[in-house]
Symmetry: C2
């Protein structure tokens, strides 16, 4: 990961100094770096010995960072990873454009691997992410959204890049299609589990857990599984509450947040969300079965535990 | 171009209906389609017979459309191609995300050509565009900006994609490096000429010329060549005027626009900008010299006339 960190710094360089300034604000703040770790882990598991794993890990982190920059503009977020967001510090304009820069730089890095298959996988994942983000916007503030819509969103906006980050590890190691598919399945299920936990943690009771604001999803009227579960199990009065706070979040009162948490508690919405996350986590672990046991496979299995059991 | 139009419609399809809706609003509005025309023209000039020219023309138009969507958000524009902008009709959020979608879709199309060289060229151009847009933002509202900064901006934000759109025509036709470079030079110089004219037209006296608002650059305090020329040739009083209106555009009064036009008229700033455009246009035409004379070379030479002599 040290090599990845060096590569990240080196590759976001530009004569236009605002670009590395703004990008490094977000990248230096750390975050979990789980996606680049997956690429390194998958490549290692496949016995890869070259240096493209570091390049692709960088590339995956750039794609992720670009989506965060655009997300924060789209969501008008003011905190991320415990810091003020780039859109607050520099404005929306450079956030959008530096996001574009990182995106395009990621594609330049992929070209360096000389692998069209790598480009096919990561261009596909990037396109899916954008599609998922638009769908998320479309279903926001709509309590008629289905659980299947929500699943579609998180598969596209999160699981697609997790899956791709893992799959390219097998591709650069020149492993057979079946291994690439197993790593894809691992990443896909891990990504779903990860996002389910993220969405559960947004209804956690204190704001320090993720370095981002707890209650953000609620205040934006985002449709996430905890809300859908509380709604489907709620009384008529509760459903009226959810319709009001989610469909017209601008009318939320300061008491609504505590009320929402109480309703979720009553119906075990957070617990059930976590239980679902554990199921996907199990699927992720099972996808590792075809690989030889050893330290690397253990590490990837532990990544699942980390994703599912973190915080709270 | 009919094949390109069909391909554009087919390739912006998505299950998330907001994506084609929003994208087609901008794409259907037309615009000059000069970039895809360049790709088709360059490929034809190189004797290309396959179908990747249509694919790459689509891809180039997608990249361009993505940058327009993001530009309109960044500039808070309300009109484009004679219509309300997507950010006004649907809001900033989907405009940013559908822009991302078109960007990533463009890279998926490139992968289909199976040419890493095509990907290298267009990823490089895309990255340059983003860099140029950030630089443009950095020098905006700063009357200390140099003409060389301005040139750097338009080379990156406009000429890079013109050059790449032409160059890939030679690449898919498998022509020698020298021909690819000549087409690159042609596109590069044409792009600079095109942007110079665009920036001159923004100070034209009526708003119908481009289907976009005349005076936009002025109201945003953008640094363009007409402003730099009027400033450098202006009296002390005029310089004070330019500093005020460009550095603090929010303080502009309704009379400032007419005053700006008068100062430009006095120093021939628009005429000189157009003269420079013609010089780059000439360089573009010269770059075509290595190619055999014929209908296709004539068409590309005429594209220069169109770019330089349009409107007014």
């Amino acid at each position: 990961m040290e090599a990845v960190n060096r590569e990240i710094i080196a590759r976001m360089a530009s004569d236009v100094s605002l670009i590395p300034e703004l990008a490094s604000h977000l990248i230096a703040a750390g975050g979990k770096r789980i996606r680049p770790l997956l690429t390194l882990g998958a490549a290692r598991l496949c016995g890869y010995q070259g240096s493209y794993d570091v390049l692709l890990a960088t590339c995956v982190e750039f794609i992720h960072t670009a989506t965060l920059l655009h997300d924060d503009v789209v969501d008008e977020s003011d905190r991320r990873r415990g810091n003020a967001t780039a859109n607050v510090l520099w404005g929306n304009q450079p956030s959008v454009l530096v996001g574009d820069f990182l995106f395009t730089r990621a594609f330049q890095l992929m070209v360096e691997t000389g692998s069209l298959e790598v480009l096919r996988i990561l261009a596909g994942a990037s396109s899916e992410i954008a599609e998922g983000e638009v769908l998320q916007l479309v279903i926001a503030n709509d309590m008629n959204s289905l659980e299947s819509d929500y699943l579609k969103v998180i598969k596209a906006k999160t699981a697609a890049l997790f899956a791709a980050a893992c799959r390219v590890g097998a591709v650069i190691a020149d492993r057979p299609m079946a291994e690439a598919q197993s790593l894809d399945d691992y990443g896909h299920n891990l990504g779903i589990a990860f996002q389910l936990v993220d969405d559960a943690l947004d209804y956690a009771s204190d704001g320090e857990t993720l370095g981002k604001n707890t209650g953000d999803d609620f205040r934006e009227g985002k449709i996430t599984l905890p809300v859908l579960l509380a709604y489907s199990k709620g009384s008529e009065a509760e459903r009226t509450f959810w319709r009001r706070v989610i469909e017209r979040p601008e009318e939320q009162t300061p008491e609504d947040w505590a009320q929402a948490l109480a309703y979720m508690e009553r119906h075990g919405a957070i617990q059930e969300t976590m239980a679902r996350a554990r199921l996907y986590g199990q699927k992720a672990r099972q996808a590792l079965a075809p690989f030889a046991t050893g330290a690397m496979r253990d590490a990837l299995a532990e990544a699942v535990d980390f994703a599912v059991e973190r915080a709270r």
